[in-house]
Every structure is written in C-alpha cells, then in structure tokens.
C-alpha cells in the first residue's frame, strides 16, 4: 500500500533537505575554521571581516614544530638566501628559528607532546582491549555469581568525574613517583577504558553463536584453543571497533593529563591550550597543532561510522 504523497508533503521534503544542508554547514563551520586557520598567514587569522579566501601557507606548521624568537633586525640578504625554505617562511613572519650552539634547530614542545599522546593512547588501548576481550568472553559464556552487580561495578568506575578519581590517584602516584610518567597515565587510561571495553565486547561476544565453540569442543579442541581459533577471529570487527573507541577516548582525554603530567609525559590536550598565554596568541600555530591533533580522530570517525551508535551508547543500542 503506497502512501499518498500530496504536493505539500513534497514541498516539505524539499524544505527539509535544504534545512539539513544548512545545519550541516553550521555544524561543520567551526571545524572548517580550525582547518582553514591552520593554513593562514598570521595577520589574516584575526581580521574583521573574517578572511575566507586566502593564499594557503605552510608556515603555521613550520612554526608549530620549531622554537622561535623575535627578529631584532631583518636577516642579511645572504643569510636569507642561504636559509632553507622553511626557515625563510619564519623570517618572513619577523621571527627566526632558535638554534643551539652546533646550529641544530630547536624543536618546540609540540612534537614530544604529540608523541606522548601516541605512546600513551596506543599502549593503554592495547591493554584495555586485550583484558576487556578476555573478561567479556568470561562474562558472556560462563555463569558468574553476581554477574549483574559485577558489571555494574565495572561500569560505575567509569561514571565518576575524572577529578574525583584524580585527587587520590595524584596522592598515590606522588607517593610512588608515578606523577608525570608515561606509565602513570597509561594505567589510568587503561582502567578508564577497561570498563567500556568489557561492556562493548560483551555485546559482541554475545552475538557469536555458542554453537561454533561447541562444535570445536566436540572436535577435540580445548576451551582455550576454541577461544583463540574460533571466537577471536569471529570477534575481530568488534575488537577493532572497541579499540578505536578506546584510542579516541585516551587520545582526547584532558582532565587526568592536566593533573597528572606537566612536562615529560604531558599529552597534547593539556599542552595545546597552554600555548594561549598572556598577550595575543598566534592562532595559526594553535590551529595547526589542533588540525594535526584532530586528523586521526576524524579519519577514525569515518572508519567507525557503522559502529558509532553502539559504541557511543556503551553497547546499549545495537543496530
């Protein structure tokens, strides 16, 4: 039975499509503004009216990675001619790249923070998803006394505001010397993501028919063999999706990183805002740092698009 489509319904449909496009543009505008500011010359970042059309530049990225100081006097023509392109870009902005006694370019704080973010996010993801997969299998296949309570306990540890957990963790870490260490943050993020990983993986495990393993058990596999050879390959998609969610959570985390690290193990999220000091910040450099930082998550979002609903609702809604 086909629904009758009146002309007013068709008109409404068209209006809705236009509205959707408008909403999409509005929602993406802030992200577009970050990306475009990352390629602007500094003087065009804060103009009235805002600059929309401009010649894109790579200079914010050069500045992002290097330590610079104000030029007192312009560089001599020889010095300018001898400089590589990336140094000239900085000269053009009235600054020079700081070099040490041996003439080595000094890096800014950004690359090490980015690297810290990578190390900490990847390690904690591997740990949380690894442990979570085993535990989820345990909950999915075996009878566990007080299962509902245990699962609630596992979930509730994640529901606390980070600052509530951070106060005692800070004191404990200080006592054992784990403040501002990679291991310290890795443990925190693993604990934080473990509950999520157990909940999400349990849903994926529940969907794998028990009959698969039972057939393997009958064929003479041990339970362990059946788990590794039958269940894990079946759960691969779920594991990958869970891992990406854990990675994004650890990658984006701010409060723990702010409290627990200050330099050596600092990740990008507390570092990027700390660049906005007093005076006029160079928004192009901040945008360049933000752009590089957001890029992995943007890519992952596209890869995850079919699992977003499930992951973001803690596995509450499956599709």
């Amino acid at each position: 039975m086909a629904a009758v489509r009146t002309s007013s319904e068709i008109t409404f449909n068209r209006v809705a499509i236009v509205a959707v496009l408008l909403v999409t543009i509005i929602f993406l505008a802030p992200i577009y503004w970050i990306a475009s500011t990352a390629f602007k010359p500094r003087n065009l970042a804060t103009t009235i009216p805002p600059t929309v059309v401009f010649q894109p530049e790579i200079s914010p990225f050069v500045k992002l990675f290097t330590k610079r100081s104000q030029l007192r006097s312009p560089p001599s023509p020889e010095e300018y001619a001898a400089a590589p392109w990336w140094e000239r870009v900085v000269f053009d902005g009235g600054e020079k790249i700081v070099r040490d006694g041996k003439g080595q370019v000094q890096w800014s704080g950004y690359p090490s923070r980015f690297l810290n973010s990578l190390i900490i996010a990847i390690t904690s993801t591997v740990l949380a998803v690894g442990m979570g997969t085993f535990t989820a299998y345990g909950f999915s296949r075996f009878k566990v006394k007080g299962e509902a309570d245990l699962l609630f306990f596992i979930l509730s540890t994640r529901m606390l505001p980070p600052v509530v957990v951070a106060i005692p963790m800070f004191l404990m870490y200080r006592a054992v010397g784990l403040n501002d260490s990679h291991i310290g943050l890795i443990i925190l993020y693993t604990a934080f993501n473990l509950s999520f990983s157990v909940w999400l993986m349990k849903g994926f495990m529940d969907e794998i028919p028990k009959e698969y393993e039972e057939a393997a058990l009958v064929d003479g596999y041990t339970r362990m063999e059946a788990f590794f050879k039958i269940v894990l390959p079946e759960a691969a998609t779920g594991i990958a999706a869970t891992a990406v969610f854990c990675f994004i959570t650890a990658w984006n985390e701010y409060a723990f990183a702010l409290i627990m690290t200050n330099r050596r193990a600092q990740t990008a999220p507390p570092f990027i805002p700390s660049q906005v000091g007093s005076g006029l910040p160079d928004w192009t450099v901040i945008a360049a740092g933000t752009f590089l930082f957001l890029l992995p998550v943007a890519i992952f979002t596209f890869l995850l698009r079919n699992h977003l609903l499930r992951g973001m609702s803690f596995g509450a809604i499956r599709k």
């Binding site: 809705a16 929602f27 442990m131 075996f142 540890t157 509530v164 200080r174 339970r223």
Partner: protein, 301 residues
C-alpha cells in the same frame, strides 16, 4: 566465587583432560580485570575516604589531623559550594534540553530520503568525536568579541560571550550543544528508523494530521531511546570539566568539577576536596543507578 557453570563440554573427553577446566578459564579471564579495577579505581576511593576526615594539605609536610565530619559539615554549610551545584544544575538543564531539541530536530529532518544521507550523517557526527578541550579552546577564537566569526556572522558587534558573567555559562552550554547534539541525533535516528512504516500508512488512511501523527505515533515510540540519550547526556554534563575550564574563568560559570579541581590542586585543601569528591561521587552513583536500571528495562523489551 565458587559457582556452577554451564557447558556442553563432556568432562570425560580428551580435550577436557588436556586443557584447563572451564572454571579456571573463567577465573583467569575475569579475575585480573576485576583486581585491576579494584586496585586502580576502588582502592584510591577508599584512600581518599580516609583523607576526607582530615585537614590534610598535600602542599605541606604537616601531618594530617583527624577532624571527623568537619569537612562535610563545612561543605554542606558553604553557600559558595551550593551555588556551584546550582550553576551545574542550570548548565545541565540548558545544555541537555538544547541538545535534545537540536538533536531530535535534525534527526526528524534527516529521517527521509536524502541524497548522500550516509555522508551527511557521518559529517554531522564529527563534533562529538573530537577532543572537548582542544576544540573548546578554538571556540575562544570563534567567540572573540572583536574578531570572532560568531559575532560577525550574527551581526552582534562586540557582544561579550565569555567575559560577561551573565553570558559565560550559556556560551559554554552552546558549545556543548554543538558538540553533543549529534549524539542525540544519532540515537533519535535509530529510534525513528525503527518506527514501523505501516503505522504512518494507517494514520494517513485515517487522515490524521501531522501533529497527531507526531504526538501519537512518532514521539511515544522514540521516547525510550530519547530517554537513554537524556540520561547519558545528563551524566556527562554533570561531570563537565574540560570545556568550562578552558573557555572561561567566570565565577558564574564555575561548575562543580572546576570547584573541586581548584580546591584540590590550586588551594591544596586536600582533605576537604576529598570530602567534596565524596559528595559528588554519591550523587553520580545515584544517577548511574537509575540509569542502569532503566537500561536493563529497555533491553528486556
């Protein structure tokens, strides 16, 4: 944790004799995780419960003195703390209601045949996946009274968003609405697409108007999933720290998490902040409990 278990494994089979028993495997798989969470989540909380009864300051070497319930009494009698809770409540309401309206509204618009629907949906979901702290920082530039794009686009002149005590909290909520409406939209879309088409067809045959159809068919059927979205966002909004901390330092936008952070790591009132953390913790556990109960109810259907 001695319990029975269900298995079809024949106990006398060769494999059973060769491998670990199911009970050992279950314990091996579950116990390490539970222990890990106890050590790194529960133990710290017990640790801070102890400190909450003392006047300990982590910035000095002075030994902690037991003060009993003094911290709790002081906090519950502190109008400043109550105002932080009131600010947080206001923030939660504004931002969750905003997300609900925008998110559900956009989902209603999207719930039809639209070219490139998949791509548009994914693009709309992007904000919620990004780092609150890092993207939030950039909203400072967007909100800037002199050269912010928002004032320019809306023709607001030099309107102060973050520096105005009255406006700051709403500006933070607006950014939060931008980030998290996509979440409500995602859940609403799932709910809307699950509404059986024949109900609409039946309504059309009965010449039911669009309002009747919406309030009698669409809304009741999507309500459970919307409720999940509301509970989720309520909890998250209650916990908000990053966004408000980065965007503004207005006392009128000082959420409970920020007060707690300042008390613990700027004023170094460690004992008192532990007590405060416990008050917050009890509130969160209460909300979580309601949430999980509701979730189980929805799952049963």
């Amino acid at each position: 944790m001695a319990t029975t278990m269900i298995t079809t494994l024949d106990r006398s089979s060769r494999a059973a004799a060769r491998g670990l028993s199911d009970i050992s495997i279950r314990n091996l798989f579950i116990i390490p995780t539970v222990l890990f969470l106890i050590v790194f989540n529960i133990f710290p909380l017990i640790y801070s419960l102890g400190y909450s009864f003392t006047d300990f300051r982590a910035s000095t070497n002075a030994p902690a003195n037991f003060v009993g319930l003094q911290n709790y009494r002081d906090l519950l009698n502190d109008p400043y703390v109550w105002s932080n809770f009131a600010i947080t409540a206001k923030y939660v309401i504004v931002s969750v209601v905003g997300q609900l309206l925008v998110g559900f509204g956009v989902a209603m618009l999207l719930n039809r045949d639209i070219p490139l629907k998949g791509l548009i949906t994914t693009l709309l979901l992007l904000p919620m996946m990004l780092s609150m702290a890092v993207v939030g920082l950039f909203w400072k530039l967007l909100y800037d009274p002199s050269w912010g794009v928002i004032n320019y686009a809306l023709g607001l002149g030099n309107f102060e968003w973050l520096a105005d005590p009255k406006m700051a909290l709403y500006a933070v909520a607006l950014t939060d609405i931008w980030m998290w409406s996509p979440f409500v939209m995602l859940l609403s879309l799932a709910g809307l697409s699950a509404v059986p088409k024949h109900l609409y067809e039946a309504a059309a045959i009965d010449r039911a108007g669009p309002f009747y159809t919406f309030f009698r068919i669409t809304l009741p059927l999507v309500a459970p999933i919307l409720m999940i979205a509301v509970i989720f966002r309520t909890m998250e909004a209650f916990k908000t720290f990053d966004l408000a901390y980065i965007l503004t330092s207005q006392p009128t936008a000082e959420l409970i998490s920020i007060r707690l952070y300042k008390m613990a790591f700027q004023e170094w009132q460690t004992g008192r902040s532990c007590a405060m953390a416990y008050i917050v913790l009890i509130m969160v556990l209460a909300i979580t409990n309601i949430y999980v109960k509701y979730l189980n109810k929805v799952k049963e259907r």
